[in-house]
């Protein structure tokens, strides 16, 4: 039996694939998701329309979408930065928690005394440092002992979750509000430590979101213009070749993993400074921002500027999920759709290597 379509090796990768693949992937995910919805007795068009409506079609929904997009942008950049080197850091989740712990620590400690600007800067830096240090565990183990970074970073996610629970629920830590007796919660930060929000085009935009855009631009410049970016490209393509030409691959792995963790760490700091204003042990763990960041990075094809756009897109999906959740919009639906998007994005990568050709007489291109 001959399959009607065959794969033909591409000799070069046309530029239009950069945006065509994410679009095809997204469309594919919606179709497959629609089949899942149909199979479980839901009307896909109705569900999709409501997601669109709650995610993107009003000022209020866009404000909420940008709010959800903020941590996703950071975790997306975190994943993209590491994946680009070939280091599969899936520890964005834990690095985000730890960044939040760091930012909450300095926020509580500096409290109302220091000037507002300085407090905010120190909180951002603390988030970065904590996230970077936590990620360095993964980077050092990978570069020194060649330990599988996927499993170590994932284990550290669980450990970070346990640390959060310990700090808020199971100890009398500095982060816990001593007044919260019945249900323990984090100590609230002084109002002076709250990060500003800006009104842009009628939507309120968190300071953290602007930081994410700035971080994406910095990353983009690093990739395009710096020596480090060049070396990252070589190591990703061939670690061996990189060593032969004298690139310090071990150092680069540690540095990039730390940078990747720093990005997720700012995401955690932004959760504290922009939104929660205390160390929200439960809320942080509820949202799976780190794992969704992997979807963001994959759909953006590891492009930092693309990651911001995709973060807004998936932020809208997640945000719609929050506001729609109920009996006829079960939890798990948004996660399923996100997983499908990642799934089709992975599948879509085949189009960079191959073109699909019809196997019937003549060689008419079927798609792509």
């Amino acid at each position: 039996m001959k399959s009607p379509i065959r794969l033909e090796r591409r000799l070069e990768q046309p530029r239009w694939l950069n945006w065509a693949i994410p679009l095809i992937s997204l469309l594919g995910a919606l179709v497959v998701g629609g089949l899942v919805l149909l199979a479980t007795g839901k009307n896909p068009l109705d569900v999709y329309w409501r997601i669109l409506d709650r995610g993107f079609l009003s000022e209020r929904s866009i404000t909420g979408t940008l709010r959800t997009a903020t941590p996703l942008a950071f975790t997306g950049l975190c994943a993209a930065a590491a994946f680009r080197l070939g280091v599969i850091n899936i520890g964005g989740e834990g690095q985000l928690y730890v960044g939040a712990v760091g930012a909450a620590l300095v926020g509580l400690w500096m409290g109302g005394s220091a000037p507002v600007g300085i407090t905010i800067i120190v909180m951002v830096v603390a988030g970065m440092v904590f996230g970077a240090m936590y990620a360095s565990i993964v980077g050092v183990l990978r570069s020194q002992f060649n330990t599988n970074e996927i499993i170590t970073s994932l284990m550290l996610n669980y450990i970070a979750g346990i640390i959060l629970n310990y700090l808020i629920f199971n100890s009398r830590s500095y982060w816990r509000d001593p007044r919260s007796v019945g249900f323990p919660s984090g100590k609230p930060l002084e109002e002076r430590t709250h990060w500003p929000t800006y009104e842009l085009f009628g939507f309120s935009v968190a300071f953290g979101f602007l930081l994410a855009i700035a971080a994406a631009v910095v990353l983009w410049v690093i990739y395009k213009r710096s020596r480090l970016g060049f070396e990252i490209g070589i190591i990703a393509d061939s670690p061996r070749a990189a060593r032969y030409v004298g690139i310090r691959t071990k150092w680069t792995i540690v540095a990039v993993t730390a940078m990747s963790g720093a990005l997720a760490g700012i995401g955690g700091a932004s959760q504290v400074g922009d939104f929660a204003h205390y160390l929200d042990a439960k809320g942080l763990q509820l949202n799976n921002f780190g794992y969704t960041g992997i979807v963001v990075a994959a759909l953006a094809r590891l492009n930092p500027l693309g990651a911001i756009l995709v973060a807004v897109l998936l932020g809208g999906l997640t945000n719609a999920g929050y506001s729609l959740q109920g009996p006829d919009f079960p939890s798990g639906l948004v996660g399923t759709l996100q997983g499908l998007i990642l799934f089709t994005a992975v599948a879509g990568e085949i189009l960079t290597k191959y073109r699909l050709r019809s196997n019937r007489a003549g060689t008419k291109a079927v798609a792509a």
Partner: protein, 319 residues
């Protein structure tokens, strides 16, 4: 005698280690064929939720229901694994990201939670559980009772499977061909072995075993459905494949070691030892990292047993 803490821990290590072993044994098969499966956690959860559904909705005698639930969970795990094989074998996608996509798609906040929600599985505790047996009436015998004669049917099945798997991998022709596919698909292909077929079958077999492990959580350990109930067991299972050097017997030992770590919290808490619960909760995860580092340093250059073509898609035209 049988309430001696070491015996209690050893017995519960076997109990908690059983699902880890199923998932890890599945990983051994999958990885021996050269496919890396990081979707184990997702497959376990899908197995868990479908098993719980079946135990609530399949009628008949208790035994029939349990057997049906196990079969359905295994079929569901295999179905999800087929998706993974499609990505990795047919589309030759990056196996790491493909596996992650499976875990995110099927995992704790994905399809397994969606199914649990629309089937209303979480609201009802599982009535038809997989219970511990009293084999030959020896469950209360000193020492050997709790260790050997007081387990679920699946634990006994896992011992049989461990032996059969070793025989299959190292003593049969198909096992030899399977290892050839994982070591050098080019050679296997030249010998006339279908690389695609072997990889599909063993990835799906791995998924079925992961689904079985998931069902053990929802039908025996907890036993009711909770979103994300495997809590990283799938990932520990992936690490166990490495600790076990891709061999069923060693994997079984590793699974019991981690079963012991997982059960330590429950056992020590029930005896009011004053150890912070969070430390015990973190122990399996910390130990996974520690053991992984140990294994990767000592055998950095000569990783015993790792299939040479693991994680590499096979493309016939690229020789």
């Amino acid at each position: 005698m049988n309430s001696n803490i070491f015996i209690v821990i050893a017995a519960s290590a076997i109990f908690y280690g059983t699902p880890l072993f199923f998932a890890a044994l599945g990983g051994v098969f999958t990885e021996r064929s050269g496919v890396l499966n990081l979707g184990v956690e997702g497959m376990m959860l899908i197995g868990g939720v479908t098993g719980a559904w079946a135990s609530l909705h399949v009628g008949g005698s208790a035994w029939f229901t349990v057997v049906a639930a196990i079969c359905i969970a295994m079929a569901a795990g295999a179905a999800v694994a087929a998706l993974h094989a499609f990505l990795c074998v047919t589309l030759k996608a990056n196996q790491t990201v493909a596996g992650l996509s499976i875990t995110i798609f099927a995992g704790a906040v994905g399809l397994s939670s969606y199914f649990a929600n629309i089937w209303k599985v979480a609201e009802n505790p599982v009535t038809r559980q997989i219970r511990k047996l009293d084999v030959l009436g020896l469950a209360d015998a000193p020492i050997v009772g709790p260790l050997l004669f007081n387990h679920t049917i699946l634990t006994y099945a896992s011992w049989v499977m461990c032996a059969v798997a070793s025989w299959y991998l190292f003593r049969t022709k198909i096992g030899l061909q399977l290892r050839a596919v994982g070591e050098s698909p080019q050679t296997a292909d030249a010998m006339g072995i279908s690389v695609v077929k072997y990889r599909y079958i063993h990835t799906m077999l791995g998924g079925a075993l992961a689904g079985l492990g998931g069902a053990f959580y929802s039908l025996a350990i907890v036993p009711t459905w909770v979103d994300g109930m495997t809590k990283g067991a799938g990932w520990i299972a992936i690490a166990l494949v490495i600790f076990g050097f891709w061999r069923p017997g060693l994997t079984l030992l590793g699974a019991y070691l981690f079963g012991a770590l997982q059960s330590l919290g429950t056992v020590l808490k029930s005896r009011s030892y004053d150890i912070p619960g969070d430390v015990l909760d973190a122990l399996p995860f910390v130990m996974t990292i520690v053991v992984l580092v140990l294994v990767s340093t000592r055998f950095a250059h000569k990783r015993i047993g790792a299939p040479a073509a693991l994680g590499v898609p096979y493309e016939r035209e690229e020789r």
